[in-house]
Amino acid sequence: MTSREPAAMAPPSFRFGRRDPAPGGWFGEFGGRFVPETLIAPLEELEARYFELRSDPAFLSEFDRLLGSFVGRPTPLWEATRFAEACGGARVFLKREDLAHTGAHKINNALGQALLARRMGKRRIVAETGAGQHGVATATVCALLGLECRVYMGALDMERQALNVFRMRLLGAEVVGVEGGGRTLKDAINEAMRDWVGRIDDTAYLLGSALGPHPYPLMVREFQSVIGHEARAQIHTAIGRDPDAVVACVGGGSNAIGLFDPFIENPKVQLIGVEAGGTAIEPGRHAARFAGGTPGVLQGTRTLLLQDEHGNILSTDSVSAGLDYAAVGPEHAMLAASGRTTYAHASDAEALAAFQDLSRLEGLVPALETAHGIAHARVVARRLGPDGVVLVNLSGRGDKDVQSVASRFPELGTRDEGDAP
């Protein structure tokens, strides 16, 4: 199993300190630190400790040791030949983050931030979660490290991700339902920040995506960049070059920015994020920030937002709880403004079709979030043609979604006449 050999795990020197934002956390005109005064001191402390520890060999070797023996890294790279054949175009490689412990990429960042929190002497962790994957990852690392854990989750998301709620509680975390706003990820972040602002002495806020005030967008990208650096080494082993296109779904954007990271410097590689198109690209019916967003400030950062003319945040809609969010990570906003990355969107229906197709063609049930990336990868593969190569982040597995998909779309569990034998 050559792809499991430690050589595929890029050393920390490749992953940390490569592309820092400007002082203050600015990615071009995006990012920054827009928070109430009480959070300035803890964020400054977090930034200082993070900058210190990311060049501390002992910290990095502890992180990488646990990424290997606890998370199960490196995750393999899988060539999806039957899926590619069905797409009718390029070769398709899937980075198997679904095989990371807890079933998604979220554990990479949760582990990194929890180790940092422990070094800072924090004993209590608060986190938000959308689909529940960051919550499960956080509950898991808190169990591993003996930290108290409270996870805020929108009440709507608790309904559609009931399995993950149970998993978090099984792992010893307290899960608190949030009834405010649209009862989804954005509201859970508000509540987690309110908790943190009241208990900064003993509590660390473990933010799950490349969002929020500086240093979170940088820190989350660097903890997640292990995905991209492994994948780049693996695809070089497989085909001897960079892929033509790299595709990942984008909610806040952590799995995408982690995968994109090593490819940003090669302008020949198309970097494509895929947002939630929901039911229609109309206000309140999607979460495609690059399709309907404008710059603004939300939850500590300046980025593209889905907002009304008065600056109030619009409700969003997506079949996937993890992409159902009105803002996008500031580095994505900068990369898009510079033209380095592009963003497409997949509708609920397209994502559900991809959810089914990848299951039947590859034996891989993707998370609904991930299925948005898979859906658009099909378009990209067709466009590139047979000489092309697409790398897609299989960012999470879909077990958590099976129950809600089964109850909302029972027809997906039945075979129709068009099925191959």
């Binding site: 005064e37 009480t38 602002v197 009241g198 400030v297």
Partner: protein
């Protein structure tokens, strides 16, 4: 000249040897149509400064009481423009300084320069943006100063001496001290950190200091007056508004509540707060 109204108020308070009372309401809560009557009620009740919150969909520095107030205000169609219009409407009738409390995004959506011009023309005396610490103010800071609107900054128990000094240097009017960590909201007892914060501030600047967060009884107000120039009451008033939304006696209730909190009237009927 609207810019000096806040400073004059604190000069008067200090000359009289009296602790001030700062009253917060969310603009447009429960309905912008009764907004003017509520601001006038605060004024009649003896508020020395009125703070008007600009409703925002995601008020992450606020606790549940003010969140509900913002939801009521948004549901009744209140915008930053209507809060500015409210100030314009009451300005001739109310001499009390009026400070807008906002999150950054409604101001950015309105347009910074247009906001500053319209707010100044309406008679807004000061602005505090909860998620714009001094280093994030950018060009808004000089624009406010040019327009005669006092930029007001928060200081918290976590603020370093350097940050308190910065807030005093860049701010005008007063410093808004957060007496304890956490979001806005009522508490049965108020933090001992209020006195510590006040003495740290006093060692750095003699700028007027108001203390808020958690103040909901006359005893709290009196306690804060021992440490600061004024006490802020927000959630307790917003809670009253929420419980009596739609009641034609709401302005009178609010006025009585302010008198009671200031130690100049009987406890309001109905067991308030």
């Amino acid at each position: 000249m609207s810019g000096g109204r806040i400073a004059q108020r604190f000069e008067t308070l200090r000359a009289d040897g009296r602790g001030g009372f700062v009253a917060y309401l969310t603009g447009g809560d429960p309905d912008i149509a009764v907004g003017a009557s509520l601001v006038e009620a605060l004024d009649r009740g003896g508020a020395d400064i009125v703070e008007l919150g600009v409703p925002f969909s995601d008020p992450l520095a606020d606790g549940p009481t003010i969140q509900r107030g913002m939801e009521r205000a948004l549901a009744s169609g209140t915008t930053l423009a209507s809060v500015i219009a409210l100030v314009r409407e009451v300005r001739d009738r109310v001499a009390t300084p009026i400070v807008l409390f906002s999150y950054a995004n409604p101001i950015l959506a309105y347009g910074r320069d247009r906001f500053v011009a319209d707010a100044a023309a309406a008679g807004v005396d000061g602005l505090l943006v909860l998620d714009l610490p001094p280093e994030a103010m950018g060009d808004l800071h000089p624009s406010l100063l040019d327009a005669g609107i006092d930029p007001i900054f928060l200081i918290s128990p976590t603020s370093s001496a350097a940050r308190i000094e910065q807030a005093a240097r860049l701010g005008r009017g007063f410093l808004y001290g957060i007496s304890r960590l956490g979001v806005t909201g009522m508490r049965t007892s108020i933090a001992t950190s209020a006195g510590e914060l006040a003495s740290r501030v006093r060692g750095i600047t003699d700028m007027p200091l108001v203390l808020g967060f958690g103040v909901s009884t006359p005893e709290h107000v009196a306690e804060f007056h021992r440490h600061a120039d004024a006490a802020v009451v927000g959630s307790a008033l917003v809670d009253l508004v929420g419980r009596h939304a739609g009641d034609s006696q709401l302005p009178q209730r609010l006025e009585s509540m302010v008198r009671w909190l200031r130690g100049e009237g009987p406890a309001p009927e109905g067991g308030d707060p």
